[in-house]
Every structure is written in structure tokens, then in C-alpha cells.
Symmetry: C2
DNA sequence: CAAGATTGAAATCTCAATCTTC
DNA sequence: GAAGATTGAGATTTCAATCTTG
């Protein structure tokens, strides 16, 4: 899932292929992720007919003051591009779960607002989703493992930022 | 990213909302995943113009005997649906990186074969990808963290299988 | 009828403009 | 010109048939 051939020659540049242990760790992590998001997506789709990406949008709005958020903030919260979010909000508007309002002071701004229907759909979908998260992660891990996973995740996030700033310099 | 409102009433059924610690762990993990796959996808797209999903297909074939694999096996290896894989192979056939052959003994079967051009494209793309995996995960974590992550991933995979068999019974 | 694989249409996501307002 | 947001086109993924062979 990561590099070609099994042993072979060393790759170009100064890059080292992953050794056996490294490759196994990475493959296991990848496989876990695939299965995890497939399970989350599948549960939501089967029981509530909502894609995970849209569910996340509804949750972010439900947590916001007045159930409203500017497009930019919502995009940042859900880790989405502004384009993707804009399309998604249009779709959710069709469902009647979200409506758009114009920003009071900044006339460039749009605000996405969760409707009552949207809140109801979210309330109906949430228990099944949360139960799945409990089953497959929270209650599957020991408290120590949960702590470790959180620290590991933070470490990876930091490493990604470092990698991004370095690779942008290389250009 | 997981459940509506912040405190509120208990959800329906016997489900418990995530408490503060649980929610933070889950959100951190989700955010890490988003950033991680965005980084991998972005690097491959920027430096090699290959989507990660297609890269995985090329790697799986490069590891197979004779650089060939039946559609079903390849779908399982890459964690893809048969439909998705079939479309993807068609696309990669257009690129000249893969060709289809019919299975010698089972006349229902098709075999995807990595072409020389496909292998070259993979060889060119791999160092950058592997370096990214090193930067953002392998070398960012301590050996203990890598071990822990691998064990956690296996535990989650097991929990997902258990969850799947239970939820299918509920129907 | 089940297994292996493909197909076309609909849904979603990405990418590069575009448009308005700051 | 930059920031906030949208748009349309193209690419990928999903979903529900479909088709052939076991």
C-alpha cells in the first residue's frame, strides 16, 4: 500500500524505503482507517441516509451559537474546502436542513443556519452514530490506549504542519 | 464532529453521549486523519498527479506475482468495492498503466496487469510518497508510539468486525 | 441461483474560474 | 489587489441494475 516491489533497489534521492516493521505499522494503520470510516459511513447511510461529511456539518452548526456559522468558519471546522462546503450547503438547503442568510455587517459574508428540521434529522441520526463510535473505538480501547492515541494524533498533526512548511520551501 | 449540542438531554435508546475526554480523543483522532490523508493526497497530486486511491492500486499490483491480480483480489487488497475498482481500472487503462486480461481457467474472471509504463510511473511517484509517510508518521513517532499505534489499530479492526456482526443481527 | 465483473446514472468532491465586497 | 463565497466542469465514488459464467 505504500511502496513498489518488496525489496529491490534503493529509491531515488535520499529516501529510504520503509523496512518490514515500518511497513507493517503503516499498512495496519491504513487498513484500520479504511475499515473505520467505512463502518461510520455505512452505519450513517444505512440508518439515517446521511453521508458522514454532511453529518459533520450538521454537528458543527448544532454546537455553534444560534446554530449559525459563517461559511469560512464552517469550512475550517469541518476541514473542508470552501468549494466543497458551498456545494454541500446547497444540497442540505434542498433537504430543508440548512438555510443561508447574509451576514449582517460584512456584505461578502454568508451564514449557514441549522433549521429545526435539520436539528431533528441530526437528533434522530446521532444515537446510532455515537454508539458506533463507542463500539469501534472508545470502548474498544483501554484508557491508556485512548490517551496514547490522542497523543499520537497530536504528534502527527504537528509533524504534518512541519512537513507542509518544509515542502513549500522546497518549491 | 460527533454528537449534537454540547450537554443537553441524554440521547434515545440506551446510548450515552461521549463525555468531555472521550469527545476530545475522538475529535483529535478525526482531525489527525483528515490532515494526514489531505497531506498524502496533496503530495501525490502535486508531485505526480496521481490520486492516492490509484497509487494504492499500482502498489498492490507491483507486489503481486507477475504484476497481475484478479479484480476481486485487487478490490480486497485495496479495500475497494468491485464497482469502484472497475471504474478505476478503466481509467488506469486509459493512462496505459494497466491492462486487462481474461482469466485462463475461470471465464468469468478478469486480471489486471501492471504495464511497464505503469511500473515506471509508480517508481517515479514512490520516493516522494514514502518520504511523506516517513515525515508525518514513521519518524514523527517514537518506536513505542509506533508499536502502540499498531496495536491500537489492530484492536479497532477487531472491534469493527464485532460491531458489524452485531449490527447485522439487529436487522 | 451465486459469483465475478461491468455499466450507467446519480451523488459527491476537486479544480480553476468568477463575482462581489473589503 | 485580497478575502469571502459561489459556480460549472471534470473526476471519482456510490448505488442499483445487468450480464456472463460457475
Amino acid at each position: 500500500m505504500t511502496q513498489p516491489t518488496t525489496a529491490g533497489e534503493p529509491p531515488a534521492d535520499g529516501v529510504r524505503w520503509l523496512d518490514e516493521d515500518e511497513a507493517r505499522t503503516w499498512r495496519t494503520f491504513l487498513e484500520c482507517n479504511r475499515a473505520l470510516f467505512a463502518a461510520l459511513e455505512g452505519q450513517l447511510q444505512a440508518e439515517s441516509q446521511i453521508p458522514l461529511a454532511y453529518y459533520d456539518i450538521l454537528v458543527s452548526l448544532s454546537e455553534a451559537p444560534d446554530h449559525a456559522l459563517r461559511m469560512g468558519s464552517l469550512a475550517a471546522e469541518t476541514g473542508s474546502s470552501s468549494s466543497r462546503l458551498s456545494h454541500a450547503i446547497s444540497r442540505l438547503e434542498q433537504c430543508g436542513w440548512i438555510r443561508r442568510e447574509s451576514h449582517p455587517s460584512d456584505r461578502r459574508g454568508q451564514v449557514a443556519v441549522l433549521t429545526n428540521e435539520g436539528m431533528e434529522a441530526l437528533t434522530a441520526a446521532a444515537p446510532g452514530h455515537v454508539q458506533t463510535v463507542r463500539d469501534v473505538l472508545i470502548e474498544a480501547l483501554t484508557p491508556d490506549q485512548r490517551t496514547a492515541l490522542e497523543e499520537i494524533s497530536l504528534t502527527i498533526c504537528t509533524a504534518i504542519q512541519r512537513h507542509a512548511s518544509q515542502s513549500s520551501q522546497r518549491v
